[in-house]
Amino acid sequence: MRGVVFQHTLRRGLRPALIWGVVTAFFANYVLFITPNMEGLQGFVAVFEAMPKVLLQAFGLTDVRVLATPEGFVGLAYFTYAAIVMAIYAVSAGMSITANDEENGIMNMVLALPVSRWSIVIEKALAQTLLAMLVCGIGFAGFAMGTRFNPVVSGLDLGRSAEVFAALWTLILAVMGITIICGVIIRRRGAAVAAVTGYLVVSYIAFTLGSLAGDTVGPILERLSVFSYFDGGEILRHGLDVIAPLMMAVVGAVLIGCAARLYERRDISG
């Protein structure tokens, strides 16, 4: 019956999603709470300005002066790491679409039911997409609450903050899409996880250091990095440019569609 797999995935994924959401919210609260006042932020800038450019790039910083603002500090201290945490969440969610059940031999029973393979992939992916929205929603709620406890960050625009979390959600979609297709193409879960993790590590390195090596493949790799299409601090400062998140959402959706099609065609490991 249509929609049952979707509901089942939603129910099963609710608890982990709540945990991820609460962790994200607590982390936001912590960073907002420790955000220093304007003098402290200026001090940060002074410290960072003394650092080599390469090191700053490793922190995702191109212009240290942005750190003198709460938006810049929160963007660096929270959203840079939130993106990594959400990417890990996306890998975990993506693996639950086909790879986990197939590795555990459960898919044999699921596919004996009157439900097509593609609809299993699509229904599960839709449910995980909603759950990711919940994670981001809880994260945003925690973030919004955190701005009340520290006067330095109380001026942060909540509308723009919500936009950052929306962009974070599209980052999850893109990483989830990559994970799902890896899980479909590479049949062994361990190998699929290794492939996606490898991509994310290279992706992060390319994002942080790619532009420094302008005469090499660095800039090309940077463009292939998912992290290049998410800049929380920039959104907090200037609002959301929909192109990048839209691109990530489209990439995620296309990869999920391709995974559903590929899954129709291949043997199930037994």
């Binding site: 044999n108 029973m109 596919l111 039911l113 009157p114």
Partner: protein
Amino acid sequence: MNSNHRSTETGTPVIQAHGLTKAYGRGGPLALNRLNLDVYQGEIFGYLGPNGAGKSTTIRILMDLIRPTSGTATLFGQDVREHAVEIHRRIGFMPGELNLWPGRTGRDIVVYFSKVRGGVNPNVIKQITERLSLDLSMRVREYSSGNKRKLGLLLATMHEPELLILDEPTSGLDPLMQQTFNDMMLEMRAAGHTVFLSSHVLSEVQTICDRVAILRGGVLQAVESVEKLTHADFQWVTITFREPVSPSHFEGKNGITNVTADGTTLKMRVAGDFDAVIRAIGSDYVVNMKVHEPTLEEIFLAYYGEKPVTHLAVAS
């Protein structure tokens, strides 16, 4: 002759395989080699063979879990791949190794599966659960292997499927539950449903199946009715004499082979007429003489000839 068997090699074919071949990997050995098979409505069909013979490969192709390298397979006249969803509505399946979400209770899984199927009668679930003495409140990880098989059986039968495909269904079931399983299968057949079960425990096939196929190394060796197989052209004869008699009096005589001696008792395999046995006894005093029909295990071994049959469980 077992009264459970009936002749069903007529009527509507439910399972049809034509030239079914499966190779794992390019140039790899064939797990299944040009299998041609017809299973008819209302029969219990046993699919026999040692481990690695290709039984599970056949079943996985029928369930559309894997795709054949060549050949076609149809269930209810529909291609197993093209019409998988429609076909799966009408069949129940239990894999050889049943794996389910370990943290979920049996009830959770039954509810989920029945929702996906739709239209499952809760009374049937209750009835089968009671019959199998299955506790659905336990988590899957807490089930013994026997209880897991029972849960698998419930999931395969709760929607009263027209065709049951079972891979080694009774492994792990105690003898009492095996009897319940046999009864359930016979009832399904009585209701006009079809059962296709694979096994390497031959006695269960002998008890309930109408026809059996014997598979080895991916090649179908024979398809025969159990009735015909159990009337194979040889019998075991056990003769107890008053004084010990040398096996050499019998060995090599027309149709007599495998003569063994145990004190005053001789056991021999006799193919064809008994005349050679009577003549070989001659003037020796016979205290007792018994004739046994060969078991399906022995017939099965006879099919394999002198080649070693590995992993063949011969249940008593």
